[in-house]
Subunit: 344 residues, 2 copies
């Protein structure tokens, strides 16, 4: 399986995130991608190539142009106001009785307008790292269009929490959604996105909410208890042309493989029924028992089974890296999904 | 003028707030009320009395019962999950595509559900301090009903950013709205709330948005540039029965008294036209030139003029303390409004 990866991921190295009432070192850090790359090289999964630059046009297919403009200039505006010694974090968000109809002028106002947490610092390198990740996903999609059975876009920062016009949950550009749209634009009639990250892929759901041509299926911790809390329930099934093309499979804290496997089988069946021509797989490994911010109990060998189950769907598959914060074991867990797929 | 004040305000002493990308010591701190009380004693403004306990019923007249229940137990739930060494701050907020239709179960989820910033820590004493402040406002309202021309509820924490079911901007219970409702319930046919805090009183606006019997007028920094950003524009005039009973007078950064006085005159005219029987005055002194988080340029002597202009409205007036973070000068500035009123 070809792997697409850019070293520019390192340019996103936030200093701290708000978590449990404190500013703590960022869980989403460069070492995450490094260890996955190292493991892939160690097992010889396949060649690692640099992404091709795709420019802003494919990003605008799923993101708001005002939002993209904000992401490009936010750091420079922040530095003018607050200096370069602190990463950019927002001040406040939209409460009941407030409205999104006007974009604020000041950078602090726009940071809150376009975000949904204080865990996702914008840094000097955010835009370059995020676009390199999106380019990796787009390059992977191009491989599928060229006939590859699979590809792995080793994206960092991740993407599935980023929506049409917002960032959060460590995500700025929705790499999986950008790739899915690219596959559609390249001729695939129907595309499925399967999100196995521990957290609900709220950004992907929001982007494709009214789309009948892109199925979104997410297996994740019940948002009643878990981030992002306000999205990802089972009764969220899409709207308009997208009604029925959104499936949320919620699982309780403590979920192990025996439970997870059933949800994955249900997801696979739904994707087969949909009649997709290609699959984008949002690959978070924070379902791992050792993950520091998550509460599922998958073991490293379960990720081999996960890969095999995904192979069983029988579609050309683009894997796109999402979350996973147990860094020491992240390389093995991610590589296990990919080798499980290849052997599946 | 009688002053109502509880020493229980000290029980709200947050350790830090998220501001400009950092956790910094809370601007909203006990010393704020202490210096105002000291100045009031020094000039002999009037007797200082303890508030009467009013219980939860008058709070439920303007706040959601689920929200009040959350505020009462949030700290204890936080301690179970995260310990008592860190104040409770939320993790994330509602983005586009997310929904408020379900209240999360976990404390982190509910902190985000019921808040709009990470600048308003919930501590062990938040509920007691906030209810003591609400009781001060209610006791002040009772003085007006008993025939006093004026009273000053020296509330802390402040209230005007708190809405029916949310906290933020250092505010938990909307003391001014609770008092205004109490005046209505006590027989006043129409009540006006005038908010002279530097920041828009978004909570008060939200609470009375569809009410034609309570006029809300706010003079504040243009939210295009300033917190709370997503609320407080001039074209927000109320809805339903409240259409026309909401007036936002927005002023630019750098506003001095010559500009401010014109807005205050317009506010006074609107309140007189409304035919209010009583006035609740949300008294923030963060319009002061020396305020560390604000950008107006009022001088200490301008607050005397402000008090005189408020007296000119000619209504029984309950002053309710809101913001003001230039602590050293806060006592003089607040007392100046009150003495300006008495002499006006
Ligand atoms: Zn995740
Ligand atoms: Zn203020």
């Amino acid at each position: 399986m070809i792997v697409i990866h850019s070293e520019e991921h390192r340019l996103q190295a936030g200093r701290s995130e708000l978590n449990d009432g404190q500013l703590v070192p960022c869980y989403e850090k460069p070492a995450r991608a490094d260890i996955v790359r190292a493991r892939i090289e160690a097992i010889g999964l396949g060649p690692i190539m640099e992404p091709t630059r795709h420019g802003i046009t494919p990003l605008e297919r799923v993101h708001d142009t005002g939002y993209l403009g904000f992401l490009q200039t936010a750091w420079d505006e922040w530095v003018v106001e607050h200096g370069a010694d602190i990463d950019a974090l927002p001040l406040n968000w939209v409460a009941p009785g407030m409205s999104r109809r006007r974009v604020p002028r000041s950078i602090d106002g726009r940071l809150g307008y376009y975000s949904f947490d204080a865990g996702t610092p914008i840094t000097a390198g955010t835009w370059r790292a995020a676009t390199a990740a999106a380019d990796s996903a787009l390059t992977g999609a191009a491989r599928l269009r060229a006939g590859d059975r699979s590809a792995f876009a080793l994206c960092r920062p991740p993407g599935h929490h980023a929506g049409r016009a917002f960032y959060g949950g460590y995500c700025f550009l929705n790499n999986a959604a950008i790739a899915a749209q690219s596959l559609r634009d390249g001729g695939a009639g129907r595309v499925a996105v399967l999100d196995v990250d521990y957290h609900h892929g709220n950004g992907t759901q929001e982007i494709f909410w009214e789309r009948g041509d892109v199925l979104f299926v997410s297996i994740h911790a019940d948002p009643t208890d878990e981030f992002p809390y306000f999205c990802g329930h089972a009764d969220e099934t899409g709207a308009g042309a997208g009604e029925g093309a959104n499936l949320n499979l919620t699982l309780p804290w403590g979920t192990d493989w025996s439970i997870y496997a059933q949800a994955l089988a249900a997801a696979a069946e739904r994707i087969r029924d949909f009649g997709a021509d290609a699959l984008v797989l949002s690959l978070g490994a924070d379902t791992y028992g050792g993950d520091p911010i998550s509460r599922f109990r998958l073991l490293s060998e379960d990720f081999l089974r996960m890969g095999a189950a995904i192979a069983g769907i029988g579609l050309p598959t683009l894997f796109v890296m999402e979350g996973g914060y147990a860094v020491d074991d992240l390389g093995v867990n991610v590589a296990n999904v990919l080798t499980g797929f290849e052997q599946g």
